[in-house]
């Protein structure tokens, strides 16, 4: 489980954010001591830091600069300052991404996933492959294979399958899938999502996993 540290002084946001992260299989740690922020971070050694710019005692950007002298822990700046200048500055200090408050929680999760994937190659995978039971999913080539059978997936099917796979045994809402699709392509409507899911099911059936994706009425889908 990846450890994510929340550096944010608003208590309510901290609590809700850590709940969101924990609901999505991350371990959330809240920074307590802003005076010794750097030491605390280096002690905990999280896999990723969500860093607000407006924090007490030390400015988020300065903290990032100090941190970069010591460590390469991925950092996503989370801030209410919506300006290209600040974003460029943060990135130049070594931030991996920059998200503006208020953010869509699904998008935040996608960005966290993307940064972790980029910075940690062993993130639940070896190289370009994900596995599901005996099935191998090569997302570079866009194919699923098992026992020598290879089936090609379309881009949308790939996005859905990898999202389900990363959240295996957990209910994934249509909303989350929709966000993941919009984040990767431009536009998918409700019907297209349904169609893509059923196509994906058929392809999984062909390869021997007929009931891999379950529909939970009113909630979403689950890959078990």
């Amino acid at each position: 489980m990846n450890k994510i540290m929340i550096v944010e002084d608003e208590e309510l946001i901290c609590n809700e954010l850590s709940q969101l992260l924990e609901n999505n299989n991350y371990e959330a740690i809240i920074l307590n001591d802003f005076k010794n922020a750097l030491n605390e971070i280096l002690e905990v050694l999280p896999d990723l830091i969500l860093l607000d710019i407006n924090i007490p005692f030390i400015n988020g950007e300065a903290l990032l600069q100090n941190l970069r002298k010591e460590s390469n822990i991925p950092v996503i700046m989370v801030t209410s300052i919506n300006s290209e200048m600040d974003e460029a500055l943060s990135i130049s200090y070594g931030a991996d991404d920059y998200i503006i408050k208020p953010y869509n929680p699904n998008i935040l999760l996608l960005r966290i996933g993307a940064v972790l994937k980029r910075t940690k190659t062993n993130y639940n995978t070896n190289g370009n492959e994900l596995t599901y039971k005996e099935l191998k999913f090569d997302f570079q080539k866009g194919i699923i294979k098992k026992d020598g059978i290879e089936i090609e997936l379309t881009k949308n099917e790939m996005i859905i399958f990898s999202y389900l796979l990363n959240n295996q045994n957990k209910i994934v809402t249509r909303d989350e899938l929709m966000t993941a699709l919009w984040d990767n392509t431009y536009y998918v409507n409700e019907n297209a999502l349904t169609v893509n899911i059923s196509r994906l099911r058929n392809k999984l059936k062909e390869i021997g996993y007929a009931d891999a994706i379950d529909t939970r009425k009113g909630l979403g889908y689950i890959l078990s």
Binding site: L20, S80, E84, A88, D183
Partner: protein, 339 residues
Amino acid sequence: MKIGAYFKDNLYKLLIFIVCYVFNLLIFFAFKVEKQVIISSSFLYIVCFLLILLIPYFRKKKFYDYLLANTLALDKSYLVLETLSKPEFYEGELLYQVLYEINKSMNENVRLIEEHLQDFKEYIEMWIHEVKIPLSTLVLISNNHKEQFDKKTKLQLKRLEDYVDQVLYYARSENAEKDYLIKEIDLSKVIKNVGLKNMDAILENKIDYIVENVSYKVLTDSKWLEFILGQIVNNSIKYKRNIDNSYIKISVQETQEETILIIEDNGIGIKNSDLKQVFDKSFTGENGRNINKSTGMGLFIAKNMCKKLGHKIDIESIYNEYTKVYITLAKNKYYDVLR
């Protein structure tokens, strides 16, 4: 300085001269002065008078002509004082000093207003950051407790967020200060972000969001362009027609000098009589009044921002058929100078 007007202004001098001269002649005649003396002293009188009249004219002409011409030529005419050298005649010195004092007091006034404006802008920006904290908290809470908050909450929160953003960009676009950063960005990223932000509203309204090949590199501030595009897409969603195949289509045309971003929808369109004014401040038009959700600020701010970034924004529409917005982004040359 026109010589005719100057003479007219100095007519009283001529009158005084003539009256004095007539009395003088009478005195000459009374004392039976010789003719030659009368003629020669008359000549002297007239030459003297002309010199008294003309020398000041030429002394002043240079200064006043310069003052007038420069005042008219400058686009900021209050800077005229800087172009003048101090005159060498008393009246001119007085005028110069008065102008100097007026200028000084105006500068102080302007500075005071600018300071107020700056304070106000800073307060607005700060307030926006403050208000975003509870807003973010609400977004997170509504997401973590889906059973208590449905999609409607999400959409209303999005509206709140949009209005807050509008204030922020209004404050930024109205200010003389440079608040943007122009660099090369990928148009497709901006378009994707706008779609992602408005995903719920687009899906809720069953609109097709069609994006054609838009992978072009352009020079702009991506945050600003995202806001501008957001305003246009927002309008398209707001003013959709009640038909089954509503769409918003985003495409790009490229020429040698420009990249043109085109946003087209098949919404209710804009009446011809309103079309010219849609970019005016607080203009709501018939659509705004009928639908009753309009502040009339969105497109005004968008236009202002385009102006600052050096982009052009145009709109084309046929009522009850379509609306097309064109954003024209210039290529390198212009920014090579700016950067």
